[in-house]
Amino acid sequence: ARSTNTFNYATYHTLEEIYDFMDLLAAEHPQLVSKLQIGSSYEGRPIYVLKFSTGGNNRPAIWIDTGIHSREWVTQASGVWFAKKIAQDYGQDPAFTAILDNMDIFLEIVTNPDGFAFTHSKNRMWRKTRSLTSGSTCIGVDPNRNWDAGFGKAGSSSNPCSETYRGKFANSEVEVKSIVDFVKEHGNIKAFISIHSYSQLLLYPFGYKRESPADKDELDQVAKSAVEALTSLYGTKFKYGSIITTIYQASGGTIDWTYDQGIKYSFTFELRDTGRYGFLLPASQIIPTAQETWLALLTIMEHTLNHPY
């Protein structure tokens, strides 16, 4: 694409095309957008995060990531759409402008680059990282079981051949460790939103234990409002609640760790498939999915802005 205005948001893209898009967006909006490299993947690919900032120094920030499970293609595609939306709405939409005038946004679109490249080259159904496990012929770790929150408890597998293999130790995956280091280094992230697909859920901690988070009532209220906003666009039905009560026990998960770090507004989305496509959601549904999700993200971001802590 020659510009982000001619980029086709209604189709799936390769890793290279998404990385090119990031460069285009940063070049078109040098005052607002910068591309940071927070690490390199197991196979040596750069791990990029887009930073959207209107100034200040280490402002309170919102983190959004997509694609940690590489086969969930509608999430990376939505992440590309979110990036363009942020750049084009700043200065246009008053509510969103207020958010960016006071907070930074970090957006990691391809959180598992090796896995994503593999879904394009060899196996479209690949979910995990591509790291080798000594003593096993099976490859990869589930990057949403590898965080240091209830790591190793029930809700993940010790079998390297399992899709929910937790890895030999917490943060063994460089794709996870890079985010951990970034979050600790930054120290002022106030909302952390990790986006998956599919099953139309908006979830908050915990996944590894039944105990409710201290901020359960507030998180539940925010999730309720965010789901209402999402559903208002196309009627897509979402459920919301804690991970363990809404789906099942899952240990070593991203937002359990971020919440334990003190990031109160920690949420995970499971985006649509409203029909019968699962991970193979047709590209025609990318933009509607991104649009409805954006309304929920706005709700969470506004709440974060209006409830400093």
Binding site: S121, N123, E163, T246, I247, R276, L280
Partner: protein, 94 residues
């Protein structure tokens, strides 16, 4: 490139906790090479599983023998993948 010709995705409805446990037994049968897209969770939540062609008969016998209701969500995974590739190629050439 891995191909998924003949792979089906079944959507299983577990009516109660006992049936959820039965599906979890299925999950442990590694030789079937099952890929749970939506794992067994709460009764009433759909369970979606990609079944490689060689395992389809065995899985359906397992489900029917235990009275577990299922529908075929995707008849042939590879044909959806082919559509997806075609769409990407067409948009790129446009």
């Amino acid at each position: 490139k891995e191909d998924f010709v003949g792979h089906q995705v079944l959507r299983i409805s577990a009516a109660d906790e006992a049936q959820v446990q039965m599906v979890k037994e299925l999950e442990d049968l590694e030789h079937l090479q099952l890929d749970f897209w939506r794992g067994p969770a709460q009764p009433g939540s759909p369970i979606d599983v990609r079944v490689p062609f060689p395992s389809i008969q065995a899985v359906k016998v397992f489900l029917e023998a235990r009275g577990l209701r299922y529908t075929i969500m995707i008849e042939d995974v590879q044909s959806l993948l082919d559509d997806e590739q075609e769409q990407m190629f067409a948009s790129r050439s446009r």
